[in-house]
Symmetry: C2
Subunit: 315 residues, 2 copies
DNA sequence: ACCACCGGTTGAAACGTTTCAACAGCGACC
DNA sequence: GGTCGCTGTTGAAACGTTTCAACCGGTGGT
């Protein structure tokens, strides 16, 4: 249905090799010939077949991004920035949604391998997961956003979640809180998530430990802003005011956290910068035909807003 | 680097044709042979090359989705549902972000053509755009979410924006509002958007016309919930309370609109259903090797919440 | 006058699949 | 005993590119 390079060659009276040369400046072509070819391309509405191109050169110019949940603005922003950066280098991005399910994640990764992506980014990799090595062993560079790397060959965008949580705890303690809980989303991601552990460590350092349910707590640290914002809603529908009765802290600092009606205390992560960095790491690894094997540290920042306040007098 | 079908064939002492047959049950294979092949596949960690597969069969099992802004939950939800549905049929989804820019959109569509997607979905097509015909002329089925179709061959998920806006206006008038404005995002999408026109028509029917700026209005209709929620923030920072001083109406009914602290009156669009429908339309068109050329109507529903109230006494 | 080189062009071999016609062996049927 | 029809298996031709060695005619140097 679509015109092929042979069609263009025939129409302009040259060989396919010449058409290819015109298209990629890969060898000098006489100007009149060049023009004839260009004209034929125009007339036929010829558009290169990237599939054939990918097969021949052994590269697809495609990145895979495997995110748990594209509805979470933090992940969506990061992925979008990867796409923007990749686009500049002529790469497309295949987004694979894992829906927080390890099985789905595995299936998605297999699909990415099948489609021969040139590199993969995991904005939130399952800790200790065997998945990256499935890729690394095939020579596919991988960048993960993770506190800790399990494999030498991995590129790592490291966020010091422990330092971040420490800052959060300090803030809450200074407000008088002692009964602090952690809240994650309902999903399976609990096993994946280092943040509850980071909270535990930060509390332990002060001789405290997290309390079990949010109901028993005077302050709640949430695994991310989406969970925190949902918790705001839930709390207030249950009759507990934020921050008068209970303080809530998020993570990520999505734009909505700064909204006047939400006004969420949270830990800022620079999503766009992280996305750009991840893209650049994997792109340069691809260009050099090596693994990403690099590590950069990301600074977080505690943003204090109105969702945290002094602990209520009579608990 | 990766094992190929020839490697598997060699290792199990059969021809590549037989390996292919084992993989796809496309011809009967003797059980012992089958097992030998399967074992070789296992040992080599062989994974089919979808690129080669796509080239040979003239289909990539890939859908393109071209959305203006993946950070808008409505679009993200729709796209996610497309992906889920497509995945069930073994299709992958290539998401192209247009960033509300016609040039980018065009470039993205060309990229999709280059990668030979089997079908394309536009959750928010530029009205009267020439883009779909670029695809349709190549025999690629296209589904758009749009109030009106310009091409017979297009599949259309139609939303009756005029009826929806009519309902909104009726609601606002019943609250006593007469000075009603429209708010769009800062992007280029103004030309693309039918909603301001729908508002104009609904007002005209009652002998009114929209007022120019949001400052002069007692009620503001926003092009979507994201804009409405941002407006809430902006208004209140400027000292105008919602809904006491000004009413705000959104569009889409994203989950956040129901949040107690947002509580936004809005027009519900069933994003997931629309995504599923769009996917099914384009998938069945692909299966039948024809254009989508179909039209379904989507019902909207006005959800009245706390962001609209009676007009203030002394304006 | 010869050779070397250079700009321009091309044929053909890959890349990793699918698919089709062909064929080998073999039991069954008349 | 020949023919038919099965079940398994295979060689080879595509699919649309890229790339490399090869070729051709002309020009400049010696």
């Amino acid at each position: 249905m679509s015109a092929t390079m042979r069609d263009v060659a025939r129409r302009s009276g040259v060989s396919v090799a010449t058409v290819s040369n015109v298209l990629h400046n890969t060898a000098p072509v006489a100007e009149p010939t060049r023009l004839r070819v260009l004209e034929a391309i125009e007339q036929l509405g010829y558009r290169q077949n990237e599939v054939a191109r990918s097969l021949k050169r052994q590269t697809t110019h495609t990145l895979g991004v495997s995110i748990p949940d594209s509805l979470n603005p933090f992940h969506a922003t990061l992925a979008l920035e990867v796409e923007r950066r990749a686009h500049r280098d002529g790469f497309a991005v295949l987004v694979a949604e894992t829906e927080n399910d390890p099985e789905t994640e595995m299936a998605q990764v297999r699909a990415l391998v099948g489609r021969r992506v040139d590199g993969v980014i995991f904005p939130a990799v399952t800790a200790g997961s065997a998945i990256p090595s499935e890729l690394l062993d095939r020579g596919i560079p991988v960048v993960v956003v993770s506190f800790e790397g399990q494999d030498e060959r991995l590129g790592i965008i490291a966020v010091d979640e422990f330092a971040a949580m420490d800052e959060v705890v300090e803030h809450l303690l200074s407000l008088g809180h002692r009964r602090i809980a952690f809240a994650h989303s309902g999903q399976q991601e609990e096993q994946v998530d280092i943040r509850p552990e980071a909270l535990r460590v930060a509390l332990a350092r002060r001789g405290l430990e997290p309390v079990a349910g949010v109901d028993a707590a005077t302050a709640v640290c949430c695994t991310n802003d989406v969970v925190a914002i949902a918790l705001l809603d839930e709390m207030e529908r249950g009759g507990r005011r934020v921050p008068q009765d209970v303080s809530v802290v998020g993570f990520d600092d999505i734009p909505l956290a700064a909204h006047r009606r939400i006004d969420l205390t949270t830990v800022r992560q620079p999503a766009r910068e992280m996305g750009r960095l991840a893209a650049e790491m994997v792109l340069s690894a691809i260009a050099d035909r090596r693994h990403a094997a690099e590590r950069v540290m990301i600074e977080t920042e505690l943003i204090v807003r109105g969702s945290t306040g002094p602990v209520a007098e009579a608990a």
